[in-house]
């Protein structure tokens, strides 16, 4: 279990306990957090689960995969700390993680 804080583009925060083994995207979708669409259900095929990972957590959330990298090309407003949240697996190590959603996923 890890507490993850999802921050909407307008600053609204949602702190949620997410089960180990789920993805950061699934944690948001299961709790109806607005701002993550996840149209492909985690297949790394839609780029609508884009988040910005808080700088302090970049090392722990790991590297982008090559496929994620190429999908991110299709997202808007991509930055150094952009990730596709369906590609981040939740572990106990991610307890306290903070991610921010972009203004829009499309």
């Amino acid at each position: 279990m890890a507490k993850i804080t999802y921050i909407e583009h307008d600053g609204t925060e949602h702190a949620i306990d997410v089960k180990t083994g789920l993805s950061v995207m699934e944690g948001a979708v299961k709790n109806n957090i607005p701002g993550i669409d996840a149209d492909c259900g985690g297949a790394c095929a839609c780029a609508t689960c884009h988040v910005y990972v808080d700088e302090a957590w970049l090392a722990k959330t790991g590297e982008r995969t090559a496929m994620e990298e190429s999908m991110l090309d299709f997202a808007e407003g991509v930055a150094e700390n952009s990730r596709l949240s369906c590609q981040i697996r939740v572990t106990d190590d991610l307890d306290g993680l903070r991610v921010t959603m972009p203004e829009s996923q499309h």
């Binding site: 669409d37 259900g41 297949a43 790394c44 995969t65 190429s70």
Partner: protein
């Protein structure tokens, strides 16, 4: 489809006898009644990882945990061979399915823009109009053969639109697609591939000269990393885009429609509670997984205690992922309110289906448009749905009846 006889091969010395199950995935016992159940029996009764002497001799992983490992660990479980039995004469490399990262990534990049949600949104209106039209025509008839009359029409129309090809040509293409995914005859599969390439050739030439905004034009003019795409790569990508999206969607529509025809309480529940649709769709997909491809073992290794040898093939029946009770309790029950619906019907790892958003949308549109007009329907009494296993589980015939008085326009 008639399975041709394939004599079993000798068990290699390193395969423990207790791992051997005689299982021909082109004709599992009971597949004619319920394909997924036929596979499920193998999961229930066989070892987690088993070896069958059929189709050249190969491993099968039946549990979710191993299936996930095999599909994501591409260094060890390569896509260089993904169809069974191994065909030494197969020289054409289907792209992007037949290559592993990093070679795989640039091809994926070429096709992905065609599948983004915004593009799917833009074809949805066409899909809906077509579906609504088909159902409206069928409703007063009181019966249909669902696969021919509906399930195959939707995805081929979508594909023809994406690549901007004449819709009439679907009659030519569909039989080839059927052979490629379901025939155990390798020579026939190669021939169907070749026919397809021949068909596409004239369009490829035309779009090379004057591109439009369709997928063929995109592929023909694409760069692979930093060089122009070759002719061979172009054909390979296009054939897979065609075959990948036709029979899969038609089959899944067939499985789901059969389920709805035989489960009136589920049907009425969904009609009464449209807000369940998203979860219901995942649950229906979970129960009716379809893809049974294989991987090539690149090095001697151990998987969940079983020794695998470099060069062997291991099959990953994706349907069994969602039907594994270690992952989903009571897996054979379809529960539209199930929390945490877990499946791998679209794969996992680098080759995860790029068409997943599109396929889900097509199925959602079917459910909405069909149930709105034909809320009450059942299997035609005395008829038997025809199902088949192969690289893709499929429904090839599904006869339905309903009372036209219960339909709505």
């Amino acid at each position: 489809m008639q399975a041709i006889s394939r004599p079993p091969v000798e068990r290699p010395a390193h395969v423990p006898p207790e791992r051997v199950v005689d299982f021909d995935f082109f004709a599992p016992p009971g597949a004619g009644e319920d394909v997924q159940l036929a596979w499920k029996r193998l999961q229930d009764e066989g070892p987690d990882i088993l070896w069958t002497p059929r189709n050249g001799g190969h491993w099968i992983a039946t549990r979710a945990e191993d299936i996930r490992e095999i599909q994501t660990n591409f260094q060890r479980f390569s896509h260089r061979v993904f169809t069974l039995p191994y065909d030494p004469q197969q020289t054409h490399v289907p792209l992007p399915l037949g290559v592993d990262p990093p070679v795989h990534t640039p091809y994926r990049r070429i096709i992905m823009p065609a599948f983004l949600p915004k593009v799917v949104n833009s074809v949805e209106a066409m899909v809906r109009e077509l579906a609504a039209g088909l159902v409206a025509d069928l409703a007063p008839r009181g019966e249909c053969e669902f696969i021919e009359d509906f399930a195959r029409k939707l995805p081929i129309a979508v594909f023809m639109k994406m690549v901007d090809l004449p819709y009439e040509d679907r009659e030519t293409l569909l039989p080839w697609a059927e052979v490629v995914v379901r025939s155990p005859d390798q020579a026939k599969r190669r021939e169907a591939q070749a026919n397809m390439m021949g068909y596409l050739a004239k369009f490829v030439e035309a779009r090379r000269a004057s591109p439009g905004d369709d997928l063929i034009s995109t592929v023909v003019h694409a760069q692979v990393a930093d060089r122009p795409i070759t002719n061979e790569e172009t054909f390979s990508l296009l054939t897979l885009l065609l075959f990948g999206g036709l029979d899969t969607v038609a089959s899944l529509l067939g499985f789901i429609c059969r389920f709805m025809a035989t489960h009136p309480e589920h049907r009425r529940d969904l009609i009464a509670h449209p807000e369940l649709q998203k979860n219901a769709l995942e649950e229906l997909i979970r129960r009716h997984g379809i893809s049974n491809t294989a991987r090539y073992v690149t090095e001697d290794c151990e998987l969940s205690g079983v020794a695998l040898k470099a060069g062997e093939l291991i099959q990953v029946p994706n349907s069994l992922f969602g039907l594994d009770e270690r992952l989903n309790p009571d897996p054979l029950t379809v529960d539209f309110r199930r929390e945490d619906v877990r499946h791998a019907a679209f794969g996992n790892g680098p080759h995860t289906c790029p068409g997943a958003v599109l396929a889900r949308r097509e199925i959602a549109v079917f459910l909405e448009e069909w149930l709105a007009r034909i809320p009450e329907f059942e299997l035609k009494p005395g008829s038997h749905p025809e199902m088949a296993s192969g690289h893709v589980n499929g429904v090839t015939r599904l006869e339905l009846v309903w009372d036209p008085a219960t339909t709505r326009s």
